[in-house]
Symmetry: C2
Subunit: 285 residues, 2 copies
Protein backbone atom coordinates (compact mmCIF):
# COMPACT_ATOMS: atom_id res chain seq x y z
CA UNK A 1 0.00 0.00 0.00
CA UNK A 2 2.89 2.35 0.73
CA UNK A 3 4.34 1.65 -2.69
CA UNK A 4 0.98 2.28 -4.28
CA UNK A 5 0.59 5.61 -2.48
CA UNK A 6 4.14 6.60 -3.41
CA UNK A 7 3.63 5.78 -7.03
CA UNK A 8 0.70 8.11 -7.39
CA UNK A 9 2.19 11.28 -5.95
CA UNK A 10 2.78 13.80 -8.73
CA UNK A 11 6.54 13.63 -8.19
CA UNK A 12 6.57 9.84 -8.40
CA UNK A 13 4.55 9.94 -11.63
CA UNK A 14 6.93 12.50 -13.13
CA UNK A 15 9.87 10.32 -12.13
CA UNK A 16 8.22 7.37 -13.84
CA UNK A 17 7.51 9.37 -16.98
CA UNK A 18 11.12 10.51 -17.00
CA UNK A 19 12.30 6.93 -16.53
CA UNK A 20 10.08 5.78 -19.40
CA UNK A 21 11.39 8.44 -21.77
CA UNK A 22 15.01 7.86 -20.70
CA UNK A 23 14.60 4.22 -21.74
CA UNK A 24 14.61 5.38 -25.37
CA UNK A 25 18.09 6.87 -25.02
CA UNK A 26 20.01 4.39 -27.13
CA UNK A 27 17.80 1.83 -28.75
CA UNK A 28 15.16 4.04 -30.35
CA UNK A 29 12.19 1.69 -30.86
CA UNK A 30 11.00 -0.37 -27.91
CA UNK A 31 8.16 -2.79 -27.26
CA UNK A 32 6.21 -2.72 -24.00
CA UNK A 33 8.12 -5.80 -22.82
CA UNK A 34 11.46 -4.14 -23.52
CA UNK A 35 10.39 -0.96 -21.75
CA UNK A 36 9.26 -2.94 -18.69
CA UNK A 37 12.63 -4.72 -18.63
CA UNK A 38 14.60 -1.48 -18.98
CA UNK A 39 12.65 0.54 -16.41
CA UNK A 40 11.57 -2.07 -13.88
CA UNK A 41 8.09 -0.50 -13.81
CA UNK A 42 5.00 -2.72 -13.38
CA UNK A 43 3.70 -3.75 -16.79
CA UNK A 44 0.14 -2.43 -16.43
CA UNK A 45 1.27 0.90 -15.01
CA UNK A 46 3.91 1.29 -17.73
CA UNK A 47 1.35 0.45 -20.41
CA UNK A 48 -1.17 3.01 -19.16
CA UNK A 49 1.45 5.73 -18.97
CA UNK A 50 2.88 4.87 -22.39
CA UNK A 51 -0.55 5.11 -23.96
CA UNK A 52 -1.14 8.51 -22.36
CA UNK A 53 2.27 9.70 -23.57
CA UNK A 54 1.25 8.57 -27.07
CA UNK A 55 -1.95 10.62 -26.77
CA UNK A 56 0.13 13.63 -25.69
CA UNK A 57 2.41 12.90 -28.70
CA UNK A 58 5.50 12.67 -26.49
CA UNK A 59 5.72 9.14 -27.84
CA UNK A 60 4.30 7.54 -30.92
CA UNK A 61 3.33 3.94 -31.45
CA UNK A 62 3.70 1.94 -34.64
CA UNK A 63 2.18 -1.48 -34.13
CA UNK A 64 3.83 -2.86 -30.99
CA UNK A 65 6.76 -0.45 -31.08
CA UNK A 66 6.99 2.80 -29.19
CA UNK A 67 9.23 5.66 -30.33
CA UNK A 68 9.94 9.20 -29.13
CA UNK A 69 7.27 11.49 -30.56
CA UNK A 70 6.91 14.77 -32.36
CA UNK A 71 5.95 16.84 -29.29
CA UNK A 72 9.38 16.10 -27.82
CA UNK A 73 10.97 17.30 -31.06
CA UNK A 74 9.00 20.51 -30.70
CA UNK A 75 9.74 21.07 -27.01
CA UNK A 76 13.41 20.24 -27.53
CA UNK A 77 13.63 22.66 -30.40
CA UNK A 78 11.87 25.34 -28.34
CA UNK A 79 14.29 24.74 -25.47
CA UNK A 80 17.24 25.38 -27.79
CA UNK A 81 15.55 28.25 -29.61
CA UNK A 82 14.49 30.06 -26.42
CA UNK A 83 17.92 29.73 -24.92
CA UNK A 84 19.18 33.32 -24.73
CA UNK A 85 22.78 32.30 -25.26
CA UNK A 86 21.85 30.37 -28.39
CA UNK A 87 19.77 33.25 -29.72
CA UNK A 88 22.63 35.70 -29.21
CA UNK A 89 25.11 33.28 -30.76
CA UNK A 90 23.34 32.26 -33.96
CA UNK A 91 24.50 35.01 -36.37
CA UNK A 92 28.06 34.86 -35.03
CA UNK A 93 28.20 31.07 -35.36
CA UNK A 94 27.12 31.29 -38.99
CA UNK A 95 29.66 34.01 -39.65
CA UNK A 96 32.42 31.90 -38.07
CA UNK A 97 31.41 28.97 -40.25
CA UNK A 98 31.38 31.17 -43.35
CA UNK A 99 34.83 32.57 -42.57
CA UNK A 100 36.51 29.26 -41.64
CA UNK A 101 34.58 26.65 -43.64
CA UNK A 102 34.85 24.26 -40.68
CA UNK A 103 32.17 22.80 -38.39
CA UNK A 104 31.16 25.31 -35.71
CA UNK A 105 29.81 24.16 -32.33
CA UNK A 106 28.19 25.99 -29.45
CA UNK A 107 28.17 23.91 -26.26
CA UNK A 108 27.47 24.11 -22.53
CA UNK A 109 28.70 21.96 -19.66
CA UNK A 110 26.21 19.55 -18.06
CA UNK A 111 27.67 17.30 -15.37
CA UNK A 112 30.75 15.57 -16.79
CA UNK A 113 29.63 16.16 -20.40
CA UNK A 114 29.21 18.95 -22.87
CA UNK A 115 25.84 19.28 -24.60
CA UNK A 116 25.76 20.91 -28.02
CA UNK A 117 23.32 23.81 -28.46
CA UNK A 118 24.16 24.38 -32.10
CA UNK A 119 26.16 22.89 -34.93
CA UNK A 120 26.82 24.71 -38.21
CA UNK A 121 28.35 22.09 -40.37
CA UNK A 122 28.24 22.51 -44.16
CA UNK A 123 29.98 19.74 -46.09
CA UNK A 124 31.47 18.16 -42.96
CA UNK A 125 28.06 17.64 -41.32
CA UNK A 126 27.98 13.88 -41.78
CA UNK A 127 31.70 13.30 -41.13
CA UNK A 128 31.48 14.97 -37.69
CA UNK A 129 28.88 12.90 -35.83
CA UNK A 130 27.88 15.47 -33.22
CA UNK A 131 24.33 16.80 -33.05
CA UNK A 132 22.35 19.52 -31.35
CA UNK A 133 21.21 18.13 -28.00
CA UNK A 134 23.87 15.43 -28.13
CA UNK A 135 26.53 15.00 -25.45
CA UNK A 136 30.24 14.05 -25.21
CA UNK A 137 32.64 13.70 -22.27
CA UNK A 138 33.82 17.25 -21.56
CA UNK A 139 37.50 16.42 -21.16
CA UNK A 140 37.68 14.84 -24.64
CA UNK A 141 36.48 18.01 -26.35
CA UNK A 142 37.93 21.47 -26.89
CA UNK A 143 34.64 23.12 -25.87
CA UNK A 144 34.65 21.09 -22.65
CA UNK A 145 38.23 22.04 -21.78
CA UNK A 146 37.49 25.70 -22.57
CA UNK A 147 34.58 25.73 -20.11
CA UNK A 148 36.27 23.60 -17.43
CA UNK A 149 39.29 25.93 -17.40
CA UNK A 150 36.98 28.69 -16.17
CA UNK A 151 34.81 26.58 -13.84
CA UNK A 152 35.14 25.93 -10.12
CA UNK A 153 36.83 22.81 -8.76
CA UNK A 154 33.48 21.14 -8.03
CA UNK A 155 32.64 20.99 -11.73
CA UNK A 156 36.11 19.83 -12.74
CA UNK A 157 35.85 17.06 -10.15
CA UNK A 158 32.71 15.73 -11.83
CA UNK A 159 34.68 14.88 -14.94
CA UNK A 160 35.35 11.18 -15.17
CA UNK A 161 38.83 10.48 -16.47
CA UNK A 162 40.27 7.04 -16.86
CA UNK A 163 39.65 4.34 -19.43
CA UNK A 164 35.86 4.49 -19.26
CA UNK A 165 35.86 8.22 -19.97
CA UNK A 166 38.15 8.26 -23.01
CA UNK A 167 37.06 8.22 -26.62
CA UNK A 168 40.27 7.76 -28.60
CA UNK A 169 43.84 6.77 -27.73
CA UNK A 170 44.66 10.50 -27.59
CA UNK A 171 41.96 11.37 -25.04
CA UNK A 172 42.99 12.76 -21.68
CA UNK A 173 42.88 9.83 -19.28
CA UNK A 174 44.16 11.11 -15.92
CA UNK A 175 43.27 13.97 -13.63
CA UNK A 176 46.90 15.18 -13.75
CA UNK A 177 46.77 15.41 -17.56
CA UNK A 178 43.50 17.28 -17.31
CA UNK A 179 44.88 19.79 -14.78
CA UNK A 180 47.94 20.45 -16.96
CA UNK A 181 45.70 20.92 -19.98
CA UNK A 182 43.38 23.33 -18.15
CA UNK A 183 46.38 25.41 -17.08
CA UNK A 184 47.39 25.68 -20.72
CA UNK A 185 43.87 26.79 -21.62
CA UNK A 186 43.98 29.49 -18.92
CA UNK A 187 47.35 30.68 -20.19
CA UNK A 188 46.18 31.02 -23.80
CA UNK A 189 42.43 31.60 -23.46
CA UNK A 190 42.04 28.93 -26.12
CA UNK A 191 41.47 25.15 -25.84
CA UNK A 192 42.76 22.70 -28.40
CA UNK A 193 41.91 19.09 -29.06
CA UNK A 194 43.67 16.88 -31.61
CA UNK A 195 41.94 13.55 -32.35
CA UNK A 196 40.93 13.26 -28.68
CA UNK A 197 37.25 12.99 -29.55
CA UNK A 198 37.18 11.66 -33.11
CA UNK A 199 40.05 10.10 -35.10
CA UNK A 200 41.21 12.39 -37.87
CA UNK A 201 39.52 15.48 -36.48
CA UNK A 202 40.62 18.34 -34.26
CA UNK A 203 38.94 21.29 -32.57
CA UNK A 204 39.85 24.74 -31.29
CA UNK A 205 37.54 26.38 -28.75
CA UNK A 206 37.17 29.65 -26.86
CA UNK A 207 35.24 30.07 -23.61
CA UNK A 208 32.17 32.33 -23.47
CA UNK A 209 31.27 34.25 -20.36
CA UNK A 210 32.54 36.60 -17.74
CA UNK A 211 35.86 34.79 -17.41
CA UNK A 212 36.61 36.63 -14.18
CA UNK A 213 33.73 34.56 -12.76
CA UNK A 214 33.18 31.52 -14.95
CA UNK A 215 32.57 30.38 -18.51
CA UNK A 216 28.94 29.60 -19.32
CA UNK A 217 29.59 28.00 -22.71
CA UNK A 218 32.18 27.65 -25.44
CA UNK A 219 32.37 28.00 -29.19
CA UNK A 220 34.60 25.81 -31.34
CA UNK A 221 35.73 25.16 -34.85
CA UNK A 222 36.25 21.55 -35.81
CA UNK A 223 37.72 19.96 -38.94
CA UNK A 224 40.15 17.39 -40.35
CA UNK A 225 43.20 17.72 -38.12
CA UNK A 226 45.60 17.90 -41.08
CA UNK A 227 43.70 20.81 -42.64
CA UNK A 228 43.39 22.98 -39.53
CA UNK A 229 45.73 25.83 -38.67
CA UNK A 230 46.43 25.71 -34.95
CA UNK A 231 47.53 29.36 -34.77
CA UNK A 232 46.09 32.88 -34.72
CA UNK A 233 44.54 32.52 -38.18
CA UNK A 234 41.90 30.29 -36.59
CA UNK A 235 42.12 31.30 -32.94
CA UNK A 236 41.52 34.99 -33.68
CA UNK A 237 38.09 34.57 -35.32
CA UNK A 238 37.08 32.01 -32.66
CA UNK A 239 37.99 34.40 -29.83
CA UNK A 240 36.18 37.23 -31.57
CA UNK A 241 33.10 35.05 -31.95
CA UNK A 242 33.14 34.14 -28.25
CA UNK A 243 33.44 37.81 -27.28
CA UNK A 244 30.67 38.89 -29.63
CA UNK A 245 28.31 36.20 -28.37
CA UNK A 246 28.85 37.19 -24.74
CA UNK A 247 28.37 40.88 -25.55
CA UNK A 248 25.04 40.12 -27.20
CA UNK A 249 23.50 37.78 -24.64
CA UNK A 250 20.37 39.61 -23.60
CA UNK A 251 19.86 39.44 -19.91
CA UNK A 252 18.60 42.96 -19.46
CA UNK A 253 21.88 44.76 -19.00
CA UNK A 254 24.39 46.19 -21.45
CA UNK A 255 27.62 44.27 -21.39
CA UNK A 256 31.14 45.36 -21.88
CA UNK A 257 33.22 42.28 -22.26
CA UNK A 258 34.83 41.88 -18.87
CA UNK A 259 37.66 39.62 -19.93
CA UNK A 260 39.17 42.40 -21.92
CA UNK A 261 38.25 45.46 -19.99
CA UNK A 262 37.23 45.02 -16.41
CA UNK A 263 38.71 42.15 -14.47
CA UNK A 264 42.30 42.43 -13.43
CA UNK A 265 42.74 38.64 -13.53
CA UNK A 266 40.86 35.50 -14.51
CA UNK A 267 39.78 33.28 -11.64
CA UNK A 268 42.31 30.73 -10.50
CA UNK A 269 45.22 32.43 -12.25
CA UNK A 270 47.50 34.98 -10.65
CA UNK A 271 48.15 38.42 -12.12
CA UNK A 272 51.48 37.31 -13.54
CA UNK A 273 49.91 34.48 -15.52
CA UNK A 274 47.28 36.85 -16.75
CA UNK A 275 49.96 39.09 -18.12
CA UNK A 276 51.60 36.09 -19.72
CA UNK A 277 48.29 35.25 -21.34
CA UNK A 278 47.92 38.77 -22.62
CA UNK A 279 51.41 38.78 -24.00
CA UNK A 280 50.96 35.47 -25.73
CA UNK A 281 47.53 36.02 -27.19
CA UNK A 282 46.57 39.65 -27.36
CA UNK A 283 44.91 39.57 -30.79
CA UNK A 284 41.19 39.33 -30.24
CA UNK A 285 39.95 40.88 -33.41
CA UNK B 1 -12.53 15.21 -3.26
CA UNK B 2 -13.37 14.00 -6.73
CA UNK B 3 -11.09 16.66 -8.21
CA UNK B 4 -8.32 15.65 -5.82
CA UNK B 5 -8.63 12.01 -6.81
CA UNK B 6 -8.69 12.90 -10.50
CA UNK B 7 -5.64 15.07 -10.23
CA UNK B 8 -3.49 12.30 -8.85
CA UNK B 9 -4.12 9.58 -11.41
CA UNK B 10 -1.02 9.06 -13.50
CA UNK B 11 -2.84 10.28 -16.62
CA UNK B 12 -3.98 13.46 -14.92
CA UNK B 13 -0.43 14.15 -13.69
CA UNK B 14 0.97 13.60 -17.18
CA UNK B 15 -1.67 15.94 -18.60
CA UNK B 16 -0.67 18.57 -16.04
CA UNK B 17 3.02 18.15 -16.84
CA UNK B 18 2.22 18.50 -20.53
CA UNK B 19 0.16 21.63 -19.82
CA UNK B 20 3.02 23.09 -17.77
CA UNK B 21 5.56 22.49 -20.53
CA UNK B 22 3.20 23.73 -23.24
CA UNK B 23 2.95 27.04 -21.36
CA UNK B 24 6.52 27.77 -22.44
CA UNK B 25 5.56 27.62 -26.13
CA UNK B 26 5.87 31.28 -26.99
CA UNK B 27 7.15 33.35 -24.10
CA UNK B 28 10.22 31.36 -23.04
CA UNK B 29 10.86 32.47 -19.46
CA UNK B 30 7.96 32.36 -17.00
CA UNK B 31 7.51 33.04 -13.30
CA UNK B 32 5.34 30.77 -11.17
CA UNK B 33 2.58 33.41 -11.21
CA UNK B 34 2.64 33.55 -15.01
CA UNK B 35 2.58 29.76 -15.28
CA UNK B 36 -0.39 29.57 -12.91
CA UNK B 37 -2.24 32.16 -15.02
CA UNK B 38 -1.46 30.39 -18.29
CA UNK B 39 -2.31 26.87 -17.14
CA UNK B 40 -5.08 27.45 -14.61
CA UNK B 41 -3.40 24.91 -12.27
CA UNK B 42 -3.52 25.41 -8.49
CA UNK B 43 -0.46 27.37 -7.39
CA UNK B 44 0.88 24.88 -4.85
CA UNK B 45 0.44 21.92 -7.17
CA UNK B 46 2.07 23.80 -10.07
CA UNK B 47 4.97 24.83 -7.85
CA UNK B 48 5.63 21.26 -6.65
CA UNK B 49 5.54 19.89 -10.18
CA UNK B 50 7.75 22.68 -11.54
CA UNK B 51 10.37 22.02 -8.89
CA UNK B 52 10.35 18.32 -9.72
CA UNK B 53 10.67 19.10 -13.42
CA UNK B 54 13.67 21.28 -12.54
CA UNK B 55 15.21 18.35 -10.66
CA UNK B 56 14.62 16.14 -13.70
CA UNK B 57 16.22 18.91 -15.84
CA UNK B 58 13.16 19.18 -18.09
CA UNK B 59 13.03 22.75 -16.83
CA UNK B 60 15.64 24.98 -15.30
CA UNK B 61 15.17 27.81 -12.89
CA UNK B 62 17.11 31.03 -12.74
CA UNK B 63 16.00 33.05 -9.76
CA UNK B 64 12.22 33.29 -10.08
CA UNK B 65 12.14 32.40 -13.78
CA UNK B 66 11.55 28.95 -15.20
CA UNK B 67 12.78 27.95 -18.67
CA UNK B 68 12.74 24.76 -20.72
CA UNK B 69 15.69 22.62 -19.69
CA UNK B 70 18.55 20.68 -21.16
CA UNK B 71 16.92 17.23 -20.83
CA UNK B 72 14.21 18.37 -23.26
CA UNK B 73 16.92 19.45 -25.70
CA UNK B 74 18.39 15.98 -25.42
CA UNK B 75 15.13 14.08 -25.76
CA UNK B 76 14.04 16.28 -28.66
CA UNK B 77 17.32 15.73 -30.41
CA UNK B 78 17.08 11.98 -29.81
CA UNK B 79 13.54 11.98 -31.22
CA UNK B 80 14.79 13.57 -34.44
CA UNK B 81 17.97 11.51 -34.58
CA UNK B 82 16.18 8.18 -34.00
CA UNK B 83 13.60 8.94 -36.64
CA UNK B 84 14.28 6.41 -39.36
CA UNK B 85 13.18 8.74 -42.12
CA UNK B 86 15.54 11.43 -40.88
CA UNK B 87 18.40 8.98 -40.61
CA UNK B 88 17.87 7.77 -44.15
CA UNK B 89 17.50 11.33 -45.43
CA UNK B 90 20.54 13.03 -43.90
CA UNK B 91 23.21 12.34 -46.55
CA UNK B 92 20.78 13.09 -49.39
CA UNK B 93 19.67 16.37 -47.80
CA UNK B 94 23.26 17.51 -47.51
CA UNK B 95 23.94 16.50 -51.10
CA UNK B 96 20.87 18.46 -52.27
CA UNK B 97 22.08 21.51 -50.35
CA UNK B 98 25.55 21.16 -51.83
CA UNK B 99 24.20 20.89 -55.37
CA UNK B 100 21.64 23.71 -55.14
CA UNK B 101 23.11 26.08 -52.55
CA UNK B 102 19.60 26.73 -51.20
CA UNK B 103 18.01 25.89 -47.86
CA UNK B 104 16.91 22.24 -47.74
CA UNK B 105 14.03 21.13 -45.50
CA UNK B 106 12.73 17.71 -44.52
CA UNK B 107 9.23 17.90 -43.03
CA UNK B 108 6.29 15.74 -41.95
CA UNK B 109 2.61 16.57 -41.57
CA UNK B 110 1.21 16.90 -38.03
CA UNK B 111 -2.43 17.97 -37.87
CA UNK B 112 -2.85 21.14 -39.94
CA UNK B 113 0.87 21.95 -39.78
CA UNK B 114 4.17 20.71 -41.09
CA UNK B 115 6.93 20.05 -38.58
CA UNK B 116 10.52 20.31 -39.80
CA UNK B 117 12.75 17.31 -39.10
CA UNK B 118 15.83 18.86 -40.65
CA UNK B 119 17.08 22.10 -42.13
CA UNK B 120 20.35 22.38 -44.04
CA UNK B 121 20.79 26.07 -44.49
CA UNK B 122 24.26 27.44 -45.19
CA UNK B 123 24.37 31.20 -45.69
CA UNK B 124 20.59 31.55 -45.77
CA UNK B 125 20.14 30.00 -42.29
CA UNK B 126 19.23 33.23 -40.53
CA UNK B 127 17.18 34.71 -43.42
CA UNK B 128 14.86 31.67 -43.49
CA UNK B 129 13.40 31.55 -39.96
CA UNK B 130 12.38 27.90 -39.90
CA UNK B 131 13.93 25.50 -37.39
CA UNK B 132 14.09 21.80 -36.69
CA UNK B 133 11.07 20.97 -34.52
CA UNK B 134 9.30 24.14 -35.61
CA UNK B 135 5.89 24.17 -37.33
CA UNK B 136 4.12 26.13 -40.08
CA UNK B 137 0.60 25.88 -41.55
CA UNK B 138 0.85 23.06 -44.13
CA UNK B 139 -1.07 24.85 -46.91
CA UNK B 140 1.34 27.83 -46.83
CA UNK B 141 4.36 25.64 -47.52
CA UNK B 142 5.57 23.61 -50.49
CA UNK B 143 6.39 20.64 -48.24
CA UNK B 144 2.86 20.77 -46.82
CA UNK B 145 1.22 20.83 -50.24
CA UNK B 146 3.46 18.00 -51.42
CA UNK B 147 2.33 15.78 -48.53
CA UNK B 148 -1.34 16.84 -48.60
CA UNK B 149 -1.59 16.01 -52.32
CA UNK B 150 -0.86 12.39 -51.39
CA UNK B 151 -2.90 12.23 -48.17
CA UNK B 152 -6.45 11.14 -47.58
CA UNK B 153 -9.34 13.62 -47.39
CA UNK B 154 -9.44 13.45 -43.59
CA UNK B 155 -5.99 15.00 -43.34
CA UNK B 156 -6.69 17.64 -45.97
CA UNK B 157 -9.87 18.57 -44.07
CA UNK B 158 -7.79 19.31 -40.96
CA UNK B 159 -6.05 22.16 -42.76
CA UNK B 160 -7.41 25.49 -41.64
CA UNK B 161 -7.72 27.88 -44.54
CA UNK B 162 -9.09 31.39 -44.25
CA UNK B 163 -7.57 34.54 -42.85
CA UNK B 164 -6.40 33.01 -39.60
CA UNK B 165 -4.45 30.33 -41.45
CA UNK B 166 -2.58 32.54 -43.92
CA UNK B 167 0.93 33.88 -43.48
CA UNK B 168 1.38 36.33 -46.39
CA UNK B 169 -0.96 37.94 -48.91
CA UNK B 170 -0.05 35.17 -51.34
CA UNK B 171 -1.00 32.31 -48.98
CA UNK B 172 -3.80 29.97 -50.02
CA UNK B 173 -6.89 31.20 -48.20
CA UNK B 174 -9.80 29.02 -49.38
CA UNK B 175 -10.45 25.30 -49.60
CA UNK B 176 -11.19 25.68 -53.35
CA UNK B 177 -7.74 27.22 -53.93
CA UNK B 178 -6.17 24.44 -51.92
CA UNK B 179 -7.95 21.72 -53.92
CA UNK B 180 -6.88 23.27 -57.21
CA UNK B 181 -3.31 23.53 -55.94
CA UNK B 182 -3.23 19.91 -54.77
CA UNK B 183 -4.46 18.77 -58.19
CA UNK B 184 -1.54 20.62 -59.75
CA UNK B 185 0.83 18.90 -57.33
CA UNK B 186 -0.60 15.50 -58.28
CA UNK B 187 -0.20 16.29 -61.97
CA UNK B 188 3.45 17.29 -61.65
CA UNK B 189 4.63 15.36 -58.62
CA UNK B 190 6.14 18.65 -57.41
CA UNK B 191 4.75 21.36 -55.14
CA UNK B 192 5.66 25.00 -55.51
CA UNK B 193 5.23 27.96 -53.16
CA UNK B 194 6.06 31.56 -54.06
CA UNK B 195 6.11 34.00 -51.12
CA UNK B 196 3.19 32.14 -49.53
CA UNK B 197 5.10 31.46 -46.33
CA UNK B 198 7.75 34.18 -46.20
CA UNK B 199 7.94 37.40 -48.27
CA UNK B 200 10.76 37.27 -50.80
CA UNK B 201 11.23 33.51 -50.53
CA UNK B 202 9.95 30.53 -52.49
CA UNK B 203 10.09 26.76 -52.15
CA UNK B 204 9.90 23.70 -54.36
CA UNK B 205 9.05 20.35 -52.73
CA UNK B 206 8.72 16.70 -53.65
CA UNK B 207 6.70 14.15 -51.66
CA UNK B 208 8.43 11.18 -50.03
CA UNK B 209 6.69 7.85 -49.68
CA UNK B 210 4.82 5.15 -51.49
CA UNK B 211 2.76 7.64 -53.46
CA UNK B 212 0.37 4.90 -54.51
CA UNK B 213 -0.62 4.90 -50.83
CA UNK B 214 0.38 8.17 -49.22
CA UNK B 215 3.28 10.55 -48.70
CA UNK B 216 4.95 10.30 -45.30
CA UNK B 217 7.10 13.41 -45.64
CA UNK B 218 8.47 15.88 -48.15
CA UNK B 219 11.79 17.43 -49.05
CA UNK B 220 12.11 21.00 -50.30
CA UNK B 221 14.55 23.57 -51.52
CA UNK B 222 13.91 27.14 -50.43
CA UNK B 223 15.56 30.40 -51.45
CA UNK B 224 15.07 34.00 -52.57
CA UNK B 225 12.20 33.75 -55.04
CA UNK B 226 14.01 35.83 -57.69
CA UNK B 227 17.05 33.54 -57.59
CA UNK B 228 15.22 30.21 -57.87
CA UNK B 229 14.69 28.31 -61.10
CA UNK B 230 11.18 26.92 -61.09
CA UNK B 231 11.93 24.27 -63.73
CA UNK B 232 13.63 20.90 -64.11
CA UNK B 233 17.04 22.27 -63.14
CA UNK B 234 15.78 22.41 -59.56
CA UNK B 235 12.90 19.94 -59.66
CA UNK B 236 15.05 17.09 -60.98
CA UNK B 237 17.50 17.00 -58.05
CA UNK B 238 14.63 17.47 -55.56
CA UNK B 239 12.70 14.53 -57.02
CA UNK B 240 15.84 12.40 -57.04
CA UNK B 241 16.45 13.27 -53.40
CA UNK B 242 12.90 12.28 -52.44
CA UNK B 243 13.25 8.96 -54.27
CA UNK B 244 16.62 8.22 -52.72
CA UNK B 245 15.39 8.96 -49.21
CA UNK B 246 12.38 6.66 -49.59
CA UNK B 247 14.57 3.90 -51.02
CA UNK B 248 16.88 4.09 -48.02
CA UNK B 249 14.34 4.23 -45.20
CA UNK B 250 15.17 1.18 -43.17
CA UNK B 251 12.08 -0.61 -42.07
CA UNK B 252 13.39 -4.10 -42.55
CA UNK B 253 12.48 -4.65 -46.18
CA UNK B 254 14.27 -3.80 -49.40
CA UNK B 255 12.44 -1.12 -51.32
CA UNK B 256 12.08 -0.54 -55.00
CA UNK B 257 10.63 2.88 -55.40
CA UNK B 258 6.99 2.20 -56.10
CA UNK B 259 6.12 5.52 -57.66
CA UNK B 260 8.34 4.82 -60.57
CA UNK B 261 8.13 1.10 -60.95
CA UNK B 262 5.18 -0.60 -59.39
CA UNK B 263 1.99 1.37 -59.12
CA UNK B 264 0.02 1.95 -62.28
CA UNK B 265 -1.41 5.20 -60.92
CA UNK B 266 -1.01 7.52 -57.96
CA UNK B 267 -3.94 7.60 -55.58
CA UNK B 268 -6.69 10.03 -56.46
CA UNK B 269 -5.53 10.49 -60.03
CA UNK B 270 -6.76 8.47 -62.99
CA UNK B 271 -4.43 6.71 -65.43
CA UNK B 272 -4.85 9.50 -67.98
CA UNK B 273 -3.68 12.16 -65.55
CA UNK B 274 -0.80 9.95 -64.61
CA UNK B 275 0.28 9.80 -68.21
CA UNK B 276 -0.09 13.54 -68.42
CA UNK B 277 2.13 13.86 -65.41
CA UNK B 278 4.69 11.59 -67.00
CA UNK B 279 4.61 13.53 -70.24
CA UNK B 280 5.04 16.83 -68.48
CA UNK B 281 7.73 15.86 -66.03
CA UNK B 282 9.42 12.62 -66.93
CA UNK B 283 12.99 13.56 -65.93
CA UNK B 284 13.58 12.11 -62.52
CA UNK B 285 17.33 11.94 -62.50
Amino acid sequence: MVIQAEATTPSAILDRASLLLDAFDGPGRLTLAQIVRRTGLPRSSAHRMLERLVQLRWLRREGRDYELGIRLMELGSLAVHQDRLHRAAMPFLHELHRVTGFVVHLAVLDGPDVVYLDKIAGDLAVAVPTRVGGRRPAHCTAVGKAILAYSDERRVAEVVTGQAGTRTRYSISTRAQLDAELNKVRAHGIAVEREESLPGFGCIAAPIGDLGESAVAAVSVCGPVDRMLFDHRLTAPIRTTALNIWRHVDDGRVRVHPTLQQHPRPLGVGPASRMDADRRAPRYA
